[in-house]
Amino acid sequence: MSNSAPIHLEMRGIVKRFPGVVALGGVSLHVRGGEVLALMGENGAGKSTLMKILGGAYPADEGQLFIDGEEVVFRKVSDAKRRGIALIHQELMLAPNLDIAGNIFLGGEARGAMGRLSRSEMIARSRVLLNRVGLALPPTTQVSSLTAGQMQMVEIARALALDARAVIMDEPTSSLTAGESEHLFKIIRTLRGQGIAIIYISHRMEEVLKLSDRITVLRDGRNVGELPAAEATQDKIVSLMVGRAFTHRFPDRAPLPADTPARLVVEDLLVPGAPSGVSFTARRGEIVGFAGLVGAGRTELMQCIFGVDRPLAGRMILDGQGYSPKKPRDAIAAGVYLAPEDRKRHGLVLPMTIAQNTSLPDIANYTPRGWLNRRREVRVAQAERERMAIKAPTVQVKTVNLSGGNQQKVVLGKWLAMTPKVLILDEPTRGIDVGAKAEIYRHMADMAAAGITILMVSSEMEEVIGMSDRVIVMHERRMIGILRREELTQDRIGALMTGRVEQIEHDRPITTDTAA
């Protein structure tokens, strides 16, 4: 693709300050064409900021940038693009009201005379690009109708469209699952083969080890180490990232006693748009994992259980009582809470403080005499901050200023401040660094031990296997299998996820026992 010689990119002593925080305190980094450099670090280490500077989205306060030995200054995104640097952002950056082709060429449109759009040319070129990323959709499909995974693929196609000499991917797999990720890796390897430099950011250790040639680790906006991939191990990277040795990932949990009573019984619940109903029983203190490919319908199912959407048929029983939430409010009143997949959109009121977010669902209980009890609000939030180890100086900090991991902890904390019966965690560790992940796993184990039932939707196979008592696998909005803890293997789940086999083990007996 790219005819030019392999690029040599170097950033030296990059400093970036935001009001009140030094995001980067003098970071250096270099990468050559034909190499995959992994950039790792905890949430808030400064990875995205560094890459935004490289992509021209932010100016650096200090430091230099060299391309092929020549110093360059990027003032705007198009400067970087012109130099052949393509940045795929951590957050999806698509215009939902345009079609796929329009988004792929956004900012780099094919032009005819007088600024005229050359639509046919863009559509034709899009078709080729979509083919390369393995997205079998017409380029004229409106982006708002795509799934997150498909959108991610459009983003990647957009980077390819640039004919870039360097491609930066900031957590590209966070909304992809195994199959799509594998496809992406294939693309990355092809690009590397073509002499393109890749900078790859991910919190998923296996991916990084599998894919990269070299690993650079950041901590608190500084370089803390660099390893050739051949010498890297998970432990080495993690101890660089968090500054200490790191042992267990998943906490040990005793198997549930066979006579544990049922908590939530779901019977033939028909989610709008799904071909058939879903049935399962979750017991007290059980962690039920939900595995599936992107768009398998897990989020929709959870939203039905939480009352965001209403099922077309079926029923639910909670602790022996009929349970049919019409709104999240009803679910919350019944003790069913949801930590949503998209925490920025559904989980947090970003301009509010940690304390205000923590108290929000339960605020009605903070007004003993008609006045909000602000002191109690702060007290409760402080307790949660300590329990969840949220990194923030006070609970009066606005959540918009927290890093992703800490935001997720605020979401969990707000539900734990109440007393959940069932806690639904939709992708609880997406975009979260290993350290924070381990903490969240520990909290999940504690919650389960306290008798809380957890429904965990996750696209990370390891997490599903490591944490669940049982796993429900979904495929194309159908429940395709239930696996017990001892049956959990990557292959088995994978086979179910892709719809190759089917295994529904009926646990109705428990249903009738307890519901009666």
Binding site: L87, P96, T141, P275
Partner: protein, 364 residues
């Protein structure tokens, strides 16, 4: 990006309205009424097109009415042959007035984009301030154009028939603007950026689009076209006072929304603007034209006409009805599609979410 559902629905409504008016009063389609109404539609349409650019980026421009007034007032002051005018050539007056309009749009755009201020409040300030400027220029009075050739701009035109033009100049100007506007909005890179910014401003910025420049330009276009409309109105009215143009921005916004623009940005077409302007002005005209012939019990022929007090009621009700009916149709359509999916058990291509074209859940 061009789903013309709303536009076609409104086109049908417009045609039905015209039909009803014609049946009630055949003079509705008389040459002279067609000329007048088409001129009215055109003068509204000219600045409604400008408004559309701003609205599609997700902004709003409340200063339009004041710009319309100011443009006319400047022309009157510079070029009126009357006592209060300076009597300069119209070739000076009109360009100066248009330049001022463009400059105002640019200043407002710069304030909104460079200082990151809210369009509503900047253009509200502009609206008041410019109204005051007009007032100061006419010193609280009126400046007429007298019998200057200027008024021909609105009264004369092409294709004379019985001594009157069939197509007045404002209509021609409007057609030119529609053609240019449609070209720019639907067929150029700039137009694409306008939609992209309205759809997802951050994504547009990260795509290397000069968001601030594009947005500023939309305010320049809006103000510039308001200026052009101001020229037409000045010619049409034949005299300027500080009152001309008050609340016209609301009519433009209403026309845009009726024609399918969403104030959330990212949606709307020039075609829709034409329909929206048509509906607004045909209502106006229809209130004067509508009549019902009836016989009193004692056999006398009488004609019932609309009470002029109902003017606002009808316009308000039509705006509300338009958005309500459109939304209900949309909801029914979504429900039907969900049911069809349930029936076939197939999840085909998903429709965009109801009126809220934001990105679906993804993650940090």
């Amino acid at each position: 990006m061009i789903g013309l559902r709303r536009e076609f629905g409104m086109l049908v409504a417009l045609v039905l309205m015209c039909l009803g008016l014609y049946l009630s009063n055949p003079d509705f389609l008389s040459q002279s009424n067609i000329v007048n109404t088409s001129r009215q539609i055109s003068m509204l349409g000219i600045f409604a097109v400008g408004t559309a650019f701003v609205i599609i980026t997700g902004g709003i421009d409340l200063s339009i009415g004041s710009i319309i007034g100011l443009t006319g007032v400047i022309i009157a002051r510079l070029s009126s042959p009357s006592f209060d005018g300076l009597g300069l050539s119209l070739w000076i007056g009109i360009p100066v007035a248009l330049a001022v309009a463009v400059l105002i749009g640019w200043i407002q755009g710069v304030l909104i984009t460079r200082l990151d201020l809210q369009p509503f409040i900047v253009t509200l300030g502009g609206m008041l301030l410019l109204r005051g400027v007009s007032q100061t220029i006419v010193k609280g009075g009126t400046i007429g154009f007298g019998s200057s050739r200027f008024t021909e701009l609105s009264d004369s035109g092409l294709l004379f028939c019985h001594g009157d033009p069939l197509i007045s100049y404002p209509v021609i100007i409007f057609l030119a603007i529609v053609l240019m506007g449609a070209y720019v909005l639907h067929f150029t890179v700039f137009g694409r950026y306008v939609y992209a910014i309205g759809g997802n401003r951050d994504a547009a910025a990260y795509s290397g689009i000069n968001v601030k420049r594009v947005e500023t330009l939309t305010y320049v276009i809006s103000a510039g076209l308001a200026g052009v409309a101001g020229v037409c109105y000045a010619a049409y009215i034949g005299q300027m006072s500080q009152q001309v143009g008050i609340a016209y921005e609301l009519y433009a916004i209403a026309a845009a929304v009726i024609g399918g623009c969403s104030l959330r940005g990212g949606e709307g077409t020039i075609f829709g603007i034409i329909i929206g302007s048509g509906i607004m002005r045909v209502i106006d005209n229809g209130i004067n034209m509508f009549q019902l012939k009836y016989q009193t019990p004692d056999g006398q022929h009488r004609i019932w006409r609309l009470d002029p007090n109902w003017n606002f009621i009808i316009i308000g009700a039509v705006i509300l009805l338009a958005v309500i009916v459109d939304q209900l149709a949309h909801i029914v359509q979504l429900k039907r599609r969900t049911r069809r999916v349930a029936a076939t058990g197939k999840g085909e291509a998903q429709p965009p979410e109801p009126g809220n074209p934001k990105l679906r859940p993804t993650e940090t």
